[in-house]
């Protein structure tokens, strides 16, 4: 390990300047639950580590336009204890809560899960289903991007050199909307998703689905937003026939790998099953809202 410099700046501007002026490879440290492990395993060897946990803009959750802005360094445990976020977007909070153990929850972050760019990241399908965006700061100022545009392939992101995710924004949930996230793992805890599904749907007064977003994780190089799966729900009362179409669309969208956690065939089939179960939870939540 060659990491020779550690900095914990107090502002986003300072963090951006540190990254822009870095000689050699620099990495941003949010929770560190991926980065420090990668360093220990020899998979990453940054010359500079920029710790963002001392930047107040990045460690707070604030109400904004009916939704919430979540700082990039807000931990899973903090999010889980935020009653307002949890009641509006239970699926996002549940997805985040699935990551790691109690001690990992105390440190890990949504933005870190996003920027680690694992195809199996639990929070990402839930964030895509909720149509979340992020604010990115870099040498050329700030820009907005959709959460779904960040990961480009396993371990790779669309962030340019020196860019850093400052915060994530989740819009207001529709009054009669509901979201959910479920994953399949062979154990009950502490595992990596074999398939993960995020569903967010809205009903009208007659119980007809008027809008839906369905996102799949761990079945392709990046999390997918599956329009055909959403179309299977929109305009229906989310009855059995709609659920069958949803499951078929989810399975059809899969482009998974074979690995020790699941074969292509298994993942493809299970994606449909989990999509169905997730949609049922989102539906129940939308009905009770």
């Amino acid at each position: 390990m060659n990491t020779s410099q550690y900095e914990a700046p107090g502002s986003v501007d300072e963090a951006v300047a540190l990254l822009a002026n870095a000689k050699g490879n620099a990495r941003v440290l949010a929770g560190g639950t991926d980065l420090l492990v990668q360093i220990r395993m020899g998979m990453a060897d940054p010359a500079l580590i920029v710790d963002i946990k001392k930047i107040s803009e990045m460690t707070t959750v604030t109400a904004e336009n009916g939704g919430f802005r979540i700082g990039a360094a807000v931990s899973g445990a903090e999010l889980n204890e935020n009653a307002a976020v949890k009641s509006m977007w239970p699926g996002i909070v549940e997805a985040m809560d699935l990551i790691g153990s109690t001690q990992i929850q105390g440190r890990c972050t949504l933005a870190g899960n996003l920027c680690n760019a694992s195809p199996a990241a639990d929070s990402v399908p839930a964030m895509i289903a909720a149509d979340m965006t992020c604010t990115i700061a870099g040498p050329n100022g700030r820009r907005e991007a959709s959460v779904g545009s960040i990961a480009t392939s396993p371990g790779k992101t669309s962030l340019a050199d020196g860019e850093i995710v400052v915060s994530l924004f989740v819009p207001a949930q529709n009054a009669t909307g509901g979201d959910a996230y479920l994953r399949f793992i062979p154990r009950t805890e502490m595992d990596i998703a074999v398939v993960g599904v995020g569903v967010n749907l809205t009903l009208d007064g007659n119980g007809v689905c008027t809008a839906a977003r369905v996102s799949l994780g761990a079945v392709a190089p990046t999390a997918l937003l599956v329009d055909d799966a959403a179309k299977a729900l929109i305009g229906t009362k989310v009855d059995d026939a709609a659920m069958d179409n949803l499951a078929a669309a989810a399975s059809a969208a899969c482009n998974p790998i074979n690995d020790k956690r699941g074969t292509i065939e298994f993942r493809t089939k299970v994606a449909g099953v989990i999509a169905r179960r997730t949609a049922a939870i989102a539906l129940e939540r939308a009905r009770s809202n």
Binding site: T3, Y6, G31, G32, T33, V37, Q103, I104, M190
Partner: protein
């Protein structure tokens, strides 16, 4: 380029000159020679290295030592009062809560944090809390029993 870190460990002010990449667990074991905190995997899975930072349990391989500059750290060595074991340690001894003992420091530190948040945890709550602590001897049954007894003893 070594940097200076200062923190309180087990009630004592300590300072060290370390490389920025030094993990907290390395600082505790190698600089402070407090070897009660174990390294089972050093990839944040096994939980043998759990310590308390400002009162909250953290895997000390998930944290750089420089990140906890100024913090109040407690390791397994801080629990016993001389020869008198902490009630949670005593409960592990009474209930055969350890086999090889390697995971025990992390188990005990996690358990103490659990009881602080939830003084009377159910078996299910204990098992869920221990999701981040692995016992390769698979001695979970007695570990859970120990924590139940330890929690009762801590309630007094």
């Amino acid at each position: 380029m070594p940097i200076t870190v200062s923190m309180t460990v087990n009630g004592k002010a300590v300072t060290g000159e370390i490389e920025p990449r030094t993990l907290l667990v390395q600082f505790i074991r190698e600089n402070l020679k407090l070897t009660g905190t174990h390294v089972g995997c050093d990839t944040s899975q096994c939980g043998a290295c759990v310590v308390h930072i400002d009162g909250t349990s953290v895997k000390s391989c998930t944290t750089l030592a420089v990140q906890v500059d100024g913090a109040d750290v407690h390791t397994i060595e801080s629990l016993a009062d001389g020869d008198t074991l902490h009630p949670m340690q005593e409960a592990f001894r009474e209930n055969h809560g350890l086999q090889c003992g390697f995971c025990t420091p992390g188990m005990v530190m996690s358990a103490v944090d659990l009881v602080k948040e939830n003084p009377d945890p159910s078996e299910q709550e204990i098992r869920e809390w221990l999701e981040g602590n692995l016992c390769r001897c698979t001695g979970y049954h007695n570990i859970v029993k120990s924590i139940k007894a330890g929690a009762a003893a801590m309630r007094g």
